[in-house]
Subunit: 496 residues, 2 copies
């Protein structure tokens, strides 16, 4: 199964120059500044022996200088014996030839460790998302202009007049925030006392804590396939196996759940019932009831990811699974990242008290709690009704963007792909009529300034889907982007 | 070796009532309110079958009611068949007798998971620290009145006028903060570009990321014994073994390092050279040089915990190990938690770029970065010189408290124990003249309102030490506390 294969990290992606540029105001020649900077990096051990430098052209681009300047700088370094060129092998930091890393330094451990690296494409996306010139067609967060900057500033201004929680917070997180979350959960039908809630540094941390704290090594997790969870490695790194369940338009297919659970010796089931990531599918009320009945009969605990629960666009979704749970069968994850602020890093998990306490204990060993400043801002945000007002407004904006996306797809993709109208969340799950080598499509799109989230991130075998997001790109960006993407798909369709 | 033994978590420490109290203004009788609350907890699955309730006396205390009221409430629940009393076994949530947990719910997994629970005493301390009436004699954080509440409030007021970083930050953390940290590190002799720095959600997270991301399963870590690291389980939970090195007054003893490293097949060395936790020992300059030479010769990477580096009281400490490192041999951990604000949860790790990138990648899978609000506040705090001004003032206050602590020990402990004067940090490592059962001392102290950090938390075999902190308790608290503690030790000395 693809999820169990260890993926080696990319071997030395080369020096990162992102933060350094030569100083044009300095009396020192530019090439000498570059040589000096590189020398410090090499002799200081930051760039270990054997590390490959980017090609000259690339260095010139990154540093914003002519290639001849780079050549002069590298020439000086080669004279000092600090770098060496190799036939066909580019330029490397000089030294031992094999192994390429300094023995006995931290660099030797870059490929060790039990936690898997991110997929290379995810690593690239995580880095590339900070290149402002790229058009991001798959990003799973609201555009900056859709975030409540103004309102958060006034919350900060109010906090500036309050007692600040500068010391550590208690293990479960700020009681004030847990009370606010408890009220918030009450609004979507979930009864959870503050003592049954753990504040997380983002909902993703909940998955990490469950994998470290609750699941025995080698346990099996059932989940929708495709799933967001295939794109990260928290479960797999903890030695947990993933077993995908098929989906239909009503959510994950519960037919045959008993068989697969028995065959996989499943420990738990992970699901995103509302506006599933990446497919956008909404599990209907009947399916939810069925799932809960079957899970209860099987004794299969459920981890419900409610990240998008609030982001319905046409009508509120059915009650979350946790609201149907009378037996401590469900852990429910929620977050502020998809609506108010990804950067606040505030999420929560609600469930049986002793389970929550176990997770809190691991959290204390992991990061000693979430930022108290973020917790305080989040509490105020929820208490003052700012969250509800903002979510209502965000829905309107997302609905407009979704409708625009659907219109654009209608215009450019009718012959190329199929899709459904999502009833909430951020995503259209585009199914190409013809399979394509998605990693190639990713790179080709990147060359044209488009950043894509391709289907293989969510199901390694997939060669047909793109996760398109209408949440991030601006309306004019969407127009351009979908047009360009259609061109690209047409071109590749002819090639493959 | 004690660190490799799996410690079972305490079996159901009972219901937590911390957040709920009966409403005296309600027309419903108090006993009925209690019964109603308990019923909801039980039927909702929060309190699983078989879970033990606290003794009636304890419940009455926690709820602030008479014991007879508790008896009435429990009587009602017993009539409903929701709880049952057992001879000598206290009161439990009714249901299956054996196993005590609901089969097939999350509660079954509380003792599973690969990450070890905190030591029971650490769990207790983590909870008890939020009981304001306790006198905390061992707490490793500055007292709230020593934290810069006023200054942080003005930083928030300024932030309220700026563009807020509500979206996600880049994988290494905010560039602005990394620049400020880079400058800060420069002041203690460490050259680290922003691209060699990863912002952490507290320095503790660095240890977690190193254990998950860099160390192969079964790797061995050398460290001082005793060490703070024995009190948490990040390394051990990742399957890493700890091997203690002896210390003397000049820091960890490097004599014989080669032998132990070879015998243990050590992968890395973890050390707190400046104002070691828990002993307060400062590694001198010569020892640092020796350690670095030996580590380099051995090819042994070093994880330097610099949490207390800045908190010198008499004279600045020698250069950190990272400043002596020319080969990417050292990863350096720093934090704002010990000076400015534990609650901000901001730390950093500096080291070779590709190692930092690997850690950043795991961090993205763990919590998707630290709070951007905290990062922004921290950047401003460092940039504006607030940190330096505050640390200078904090030093004065800590010096006064240390001197008071030493005076009090002189007065009450000369016949009972030995200690050294710490040159920085928070701790006096008190060595009792007679070994004592420290867990008993912990409980006896708790009964008198004193919260202690006993030596067995930092070296399981220890029966002689207490980590006393002058950073947290107020001067009058210290006076009372040290006096009471001496009484207690004298009493126990006679018993054991």
């Amino acid at each position: 199964m693809q999820s169990q294969t260890r993926i080696p990290p990319p071997r030395s992606s080369g020096a990162s120059l992102a933060d350094w540029r030569p100083d044009r105001a300095s009396p020192q020649p530019i090439y000498a500044q570059i040589a000096g900077y590189f020398r410090a990096k090499i002799t200081g051990g930051d760039w270990p022996e054997g590390m490959k430098l980017p090609p000259q052209r690339e260095l010139a681009r990154q540093l914003g200088v002519n290639r001849s300047t780079v050549v002069a700088a590298l020439g000086q370094l080669a004279e000092l014996g600090l770098i060496e060129g190799r036939q066909g092998g580019g330029t490397r930091v000089a030294g031992k030839e094999d192994p390429p890393w300094t023995a006995g330094s931290w660099n030797d451990y870059v490929e060790e460790g039990t936690h898997y690296p991110n997929l290379p494409a995810i690593q690239a996306i995580n880095r590339l998302e900070f290149q402002p010139e790229l058009l991001r067609l798959g990003t799973g967060e609201p555009a900056p202009e859709l975030l409540p900057g103004e309102e958060m500033r006034s919350i900060l201004a109010e906090l500036a007049r309050e007692e600040l929680p500068l010391p550590y917070e208690e293990p479960l997180g700020s009681l004030r925030l847990r009370r606010a979350v408890s009220a918030e959960l009450g609004r979507i039908g979930i009864r959870a006392e503050p003592s049954s809630i753990l504040i997380l540094s983002g909902a993703l941390q909940g998955i990490q804590l469950v994998s470290l704290g609750l699941l025995p090594k080698g346990a099996a997790v059932l989940l929708e396939k495709p799933s967001y969870l295939y794109s990260i490695h928290s479960f797999q790194s903890a030695g947990v196996k993933l077993h995908g369940l098929p989906m239909d338009k009503r959510g994950l297919v519960t037919e045959g759940l008993e068989d697969l659970a028995a065959r996989a010796k499943a420990a738990v089931l992970y699901t995103i019932p509302s506006f599933h990531n990446p497919t956008g599918i909404l599990m209907d009320a009947e399916r939810r009831r069925e799932l809960m009945e079957r899970a209860a009969a099987l004794g299969l605990p459920v981890l419900e990811d409610g990240a998008y629960q609030d982001l319905w666009l046409d009508a509120p979704p059915p009650l979350p699974l946790k609201a149907l749970d009378g037996k401590g069968q469900v852990l429910h994850l929620g977050t502020l990242s998809k609506s108010a602020s990804p950067g606040l890093r505030i999420g929560w998990v609600a469930g049986p008290e002793q389970v929550i306490r176990r997770l809190a204990d691991i959290k204390m060993q992991t990061d000693y709690g979430a930022s108290s400043l973020s917790q305080l801002a989040a509490a105020k945000w929820l208490e003052d009704g700012g969250h509800k007002r903002h979510t209502d407004a965000l829905r309107l904006a997302l609905r407009r963007r979704r409708d625009l996306m659907l219109e654009l797809l209608e215009r450019h993709f009718t012959e190329l792909a199929e899709w459904s109208k999502p009833a909430g969340g951020f995503y259209v799950w585009l199914r190409l009529n013809k399979p394509l080598p998605l990693p190639k499509l990713f790179r080709a799109a990147l060359a044209e300034g488009l950043l894509l989230n391709t289907g293989d991130l969510y199901d390694r075998a997939d060669a047909r889907h793109l996760r398109l997001s209408y949440a991030y790109a601006s309306p004019s960006g969407l127009e351009q982007g979908i047009f360009k993407l259609a061109e690209l798909v047409r071109r590749m369709d002819r090639l493959f």
